[in-house]
């Protein structure tokens, strides 16, 4: 279907371009027109998904269940999209078919997307009559577009923010665009993306399911285990440390350390040693930055697992910092103390991590796999050559990268005593806590364990080959009837 393909391609191109742009800093010229375009895209995608999945157009909505997500993913996606409200009330503002070239590029993308979506209206009936061999793949294409909608809504809500303090009429559309129904859309679209392969040979990509849990703050024990594994990973690299690996570790020390310092500074009034620890972490951060920007080259290749773990740990520390920043100024001591263990679990591994990094740098230099500039002034790049440490002319002391790594490791040793003080203080409070506090702690530990199991299950699922899942029916419309007795989502 040429027209269908062109229309869908245009819609996907415009929405992917909007996804790429992310939340922009500049306010929009006509934000209400963009919201009307968003409503047109949402409505049309929902109708097409409903048509492929044979959902009656006037069906009464019901609560989304786990059963729906697993056994009726098409219908579940339709239902999740139906729960996303319109940004502007129906009939108050319509998008125009003509493209306004005077608008900024992003708003033009919204116009293109709305125009393409409206053009797909004529295929709604045809979408309901798709043969078995095509139906799931069309649904997959629509799920790709739907999966982008939460991110686009967030970008639009950010565009509304500058007008919120003065124009209170924007508060309603802002609430619509930050609706909690986005999680259901992510889950339902992610389910289809995970079970129906895209056209062409593509390995499994990270689905929305994994992204939902990506930045969740970990309980202390879990974070400590992660950090321990991370330190072991850095230590095991030895001479194979690449520049990319070094940048990733120093970035974690710089940004993650700064976030941990923010959290500990917030908890300082209730945890002894937290203030000293925060100060120690603040001193580590610039030294990590210095090592990160020291000019080096390497022959070894990057280790993707290390890079991924660095970002994961950094995201967790950021989530913890957000949690600390969002606490009210008069937060109870118990609330503040609850934030300290994960930050401590991160901080207590920093001395070992910096020492492992320093040893890896030394080993890489000794093996000639880490190269340094041939000139002392590396900014003069006209005749700059990258050489091994032994080939460096006029060797006076260790190279800059080794000096920086050693300095970083020495500074990190200073945070050991305050970590012990803070841990001792927390243990003292835990021992004197009442039974309900201990019960709450046990419950939190159980929740953490359950979350870890869920994450393991999702990760295992991502490793599966991208074949059409055997548990899917031959056509989305043949899904079993909803099972109302199941657990509610």
């Amino acid at each position: 279907v040429t027209g269908w393909g062109e229309g869908l391609d245009e819609l996907a191109g415009a929405t992917a371009a909007l996804l790429q742009a992310g939340p922009v800093a500049e306010p929009m010229v006509d934000v209400r027109a963009a919201m009307a375009c968003r409503d047109a895209v949402l409505t049309q995608v929902r109708e097409l998904v409903g048509s492929v999945s044979d959902v009656p157009r006037l069906a009464v909505g019901s609560e989304l269940t786990v059963f729906d997500l697993v056994h009726r993913p098409g219908q579940a996606l339709h239902q999740a999209l139906a729960e996303l409200p319109r940004a502007v009330p129906f009939g108050t503002r319509q998008h125009t078919a003509a493209l306004d070239k005077t608008l900024p590029v992003l708003e033009q993308h919204w116009q293109v997307a709305a125009r393409a979506a409206t053009g797909l209206e004529r295929y709604i009936t045809a979408a309901g009559q798709l043969p078995d061999q095509h139906a799931w793949y069309v649904l997959r294409d629509l799920a790709d577009i739907a999966a982008a909608l939460p991110a686009l809504d967030h970008a639009l809500s950010e565009a509304l923010l500058p007008g919120l303090p003065t124009g209170q009429d924007l508060a309603t559309p802002y609430a619509m665009l930050t609706h909690p129904g986005h999680d259901a859309v992510r889950l339902a679209a992610g389910e289809i993306q995970a079970r129906v392969p895209a056209d062409g040979p593509r390995p499994a990509a990270a689905t929305a399911n994994a992204q939902v849990l990506a930045g969740a703050p970990a309980v202390a024990g879990e974070l400590s285990r992660m950090m321990f594994g991370y330190v072991q990973g850095v230590s095991a690299l030895g001479g194979k440390l690449s520049v990319g690996d070094m940048r990733a570790v120093t970035r974690l020390l710089e940004c993650g350390g700064a976030d941990a310092a923010r959290v500990l500074a917030r908890t300082a009034p209730t945890v002894a040693g937290a203030a000293d620890l925060a100060e120690g972490l603040r001193q580590v951060s610039p030294l990590a930055s210095q090592l990160r920007t020291t000019p080096t080259r390497s022959i070894s290749t990057e280790h993707l697992r290390l890079l991924r773990d660095s970002r994961e740990l950094q995201a967790r520390m950021r989530a913890l910092a957000v949690q600390a920043l969002r606490l009210p100024p008069d937060a109870a001591d118990r609330q503040l103390r609850r934030l300290a263990p994960p930050a401590l679990a991160f901080a207590e591994h920093i001395p070992m991590l910096t020492r492992a990094l320093e040893l890896s740098v030394r080993e890489s230099l000794a093996q000639g796999l880490l190269l340094v500039p041939s000139l002392a002034d590396h900014r003069n790049t006209h005749h700059l050559m990258w050489v091994t440490d032994t080939m460096r002319p006029g060797c006076d002391g260790p190279p800059a990268v080794q000096r920086s790594a050693s300095e970083l490791a020495r500074a990190a040793e200073q945070i050991g005593p305050p970590v012990r003080t803070a841990n001792h203080d927390l243990a003292r409070h835990a021992a004197t806590g009442d039974p309900s506090t201990r019960a709450a702690k046990t419950a939190r530990r159980q929740v953490g364990k359950a979350r870890a199991e869920l994450r393991t299950a999702l990760t295992a699922r991502l490793d599966q080959p991208p074949a059409l899942s055997a548990s899917l029916t031959s056509h989305p419309r043949l899904a079993p009837a909803p099972n109302v007795s199941n657990v509610r989502y």
Partner: protein, 157 residues
């Protein structure tokens, strides 16, 4: 426009040799190699290179190996932010040309990390606030525990 200019002259359009793309657009592989080089940039902040790392990891998840770093044609002393901006802008065109449809969104997700890297370098505080709001929207528990619910029997949950 003065009289000595040819008919139809539009001063807002540069002369053909200066119009983009005067040079052939670099391939995606070339851009990825430059991004791998930018990952170790000393001009970009830690957060910005972190987002560059995210973009390359996203590609790695899609089956493309981590590229060997390569300096941009403008040399290692050029403005690294400008290089990043140009690569990010080129991705928009690649998105339009990408096939199949899912590949557009793959590039869109990669490009989002790069756009965040650019914005992070230009306005780190503003971007962090934006991302924190998104985090709280996606993970409401970050904003603190929900308010207590009073049950019918008077108990508080």
């Amino acid at each position: 426009v003065s009289d000595d200019l040819p008919d139809g002259f539009d001063p807002t359009i540069p002369a053909p040799p200066n119009q983009w793309p005067g040079d052939p657009m670099p391939t995606l592989a070339q851009d990825r190699a430059v991004l791998a080089w930018l990952h170790g940039s000393d001009q970009l902040s830690a957060d910005a290179t972190g987002y560059v790392c995210e973009a390359l990891l996203e590609w790695a998840l899609l089956g493309l190996a981590w590229p060997q770093g390569s300096e941009p044609p403008a040399g290692p002393d050029c403005d690294h932010l400008q290089v990043l901006i140009q690569i990010t802008e080129r991705l928009q065109r690649r998105i339009m040309l990408a096939q199949p449809l899912a590949a557009k969104f793959d590039l869109g997700r990669v490009g989002r990390h790069l756009s965040l890297a650019v914005r992070c370098q230009l306005d780190p505080a503003g971007l962090q606030e934006t991302l924190d709001r998104e985090s709280v929207h996606r993970m409401p528990w970050l904003a603190g525990p929900p308010p207590p619910v009073v049950l019918a029997d008077g108990g508080v949950l």
